[in-house]
Symmetry: C2
Subunit: 153 residues, 2 copies
């Protein structure tokens, strides 16, 4: 069984990751090539594929790169307790729940705005009115964008 090596492009294909993204992950220390070719091109191995796969999957689930860095650190020490892993995931679930709640409220208001728009001139547009006057909207949870840690997905 010989060691298979991958170019950055092959690694990218295997993990559905764009090449510049792989380089970016290397830059911030999430993955490291096993070496370089004679001419200086990056070479990766099977472990890189798994590691990058992990990163990508976690990103799909909305984890920040920072959280992923922690998860990777924990995954690297198989004898450690998996409690912190659990904590990170629980935290993420919590944030997803918050975002779901906010999005659902937003969805409702958008839908209502659309329902009320009768399609005339902008001057009479109910949508523009609601947007201009917050008190016309139903949402209670008046959450101000500045304070909202708004992130991805």
């Amino acid at each position: 069984m010989k060691k298979v090596e991958y170019s950055i492009g092959q690694l990218g294909k295997l993990t559905h990751t764009k090449v510049p993204t792989v380089r970016y992950y290397e830059e911030i220390g999430l993955i490291t090539p096993v070496g370089r070719s004679e001419g200086g091109q990056r070479r990766f191995d099977q472990a890189s594929v798994r590691r990058l796969g992990f990163v990508r999957h976690a990103r799909e689930l909305g984890f920040t790169l920072d959280a992923i860095r922690q998860l990777l650190g924990l995954a690297d020490r198989p004898t450690a307790s998996c409690e912190p892993v659990d904590g990170i995931v629980q935290q993420q679930l919590h944030e997803v729940d918050l975002r779901l709640a906010r999005l659902q409220a937003i969805r409702q208001e958008l839908q209502r705005m659309l329902d009320e728009c009768s399609g005339g001139k902008a001057g009479d547009c109910r949508i523009l009115e609601v947007l201009a006057d917050h008190s016309l909207c139903l949402t209670e949870d008046h959450d101000h964008p500045d304070s909202t840690t708004d992130r991805q997905i």
Copy 2:
């Protein structure tokens, strides 16, 4: 009835907007002070308050500043048809729906991961396993972060 004027700080309080954010919105052309004081400080009026209120409310609903710029342009021409407004809002609703669907799938997988974790060593951690091996996860819609236009809320 005399014209009331507001400093940037007062405007910020009235609209729950941080002062640097107000300046940023001015920089990108969303709002404009009515003038400046002798000493060069910005002065705003009631119309500024309404306009900034509009921006903030639209941001809460997840519109991009670009969409908001368009909405403001439409709101400024009351005789124009409100059809494009409707279009922008519908588009936004659509995006919110997509995001809700994705978040719900994510929520499910996070929950399942937590349910399966028995709390032992990281080496046996089901969570880390699932993260490392995408094929272990239930989500069908394998959506790759790169291609995801992931934005706020």
